[in-house]
Subunit: 156 residues, 2 copies
């Protein structure tokens, strides 16, 4: 797969070498991740991180992690091009706000469930459904209790 893309690269340089106007060598570190047909990917990371830094970062990683590293760098660079002040951090801040809002909504909904259960129990103590629930809970507790007793008698 890599070899075939390099053969193609021999005919036309990868997007990185084309932008940097340099010869695309056979073991070019950019070629597998920046194909000629996607020039914008390299243009963004070059603008934000610089070709030399991208090269260094890729060289420091094992080959199997380089694809993911390039994808995350392209994402980050595009975010910085779109929003030169906050970049990716703007997205992080907005997701964090969304989480705070959802946590507050969840706490409210859960409090309402507890409140409704308590009210149901207080208003209708003789409800067959509630008594059935109570009985089932009592049975569960009883079986735990029996289990405890069994363990007690086993250990003492």
């Amino acid at each position: 797969m890599k070899e075939s893309s390099r053969k193609q690269g021999a005919a036309s340089p990868c997007a990185a070498c084309k932008l940097l106007r340099r010869r695309c060598v056979e073991d070019c570190v950019f070629a597998p991740y920046f194909p000629a047909e996607e020039p914008h990917k390299f243009a963004s990371v070059h603008k934000v991180f610089g070709a030399s830094n991208v090269n260094k970062m890729l060289q420091e990683l094992p080959e199997y992690q380089r694809g993911d590293a390039v994808s995350s760098m392209v994402y980050e660079a595009n975010a910085r091009v779109r929003d030169p002040v906050y970049g990716c951090v703007g997205a992080i801040s907005s997701l964090q706000q969304q989480i705070d809002k959802l946590q507050a909504q969840l706490a409210l909904a859960q409090a309402e469930v507890v409140h409704m259960r308590m009210r149901q129990l207080a208003d209708f103590p003789n409800s067959p459904q509630i008594n059935a629930n109570k009985q089932s809970r009592h049975q569960q507790q009883k079986s735990h209790f029996d289990m405890d007793n069994l363990e007690d008698s086993f250990w003492h």
Copy 2:
């Protein structure tokens, strides 16, 4: 404020100029954001974005936005140093997963509230509380209806 920091800068260069081993001039673009006493801030952005790119990005922004831009770049650079494969994007992905989980929990809790309300209504149609709610809703509807009648008689 800026002037006093530049006076200080005249005695000792800012963290950026110190690392780049260059003279810290009076209008140095880095000096207000990379004080000598915080050398790690510039070291990170230099390693990830490159000094020349940081310089360019700051020059392209109005002064009042540069402080925020530096903070977000330092955050992003630190994330990339900690996690060279995913950087900031790792945090985005984990926040997104947290949001998906919270949304599912919220949907469940809200469904439980609706279910309990429906059951309460079906099980205890003569509950004084439910009847009080019903009456209040009926009154609200009635007052709307009266309003409509009033409008009707006005227009016809």
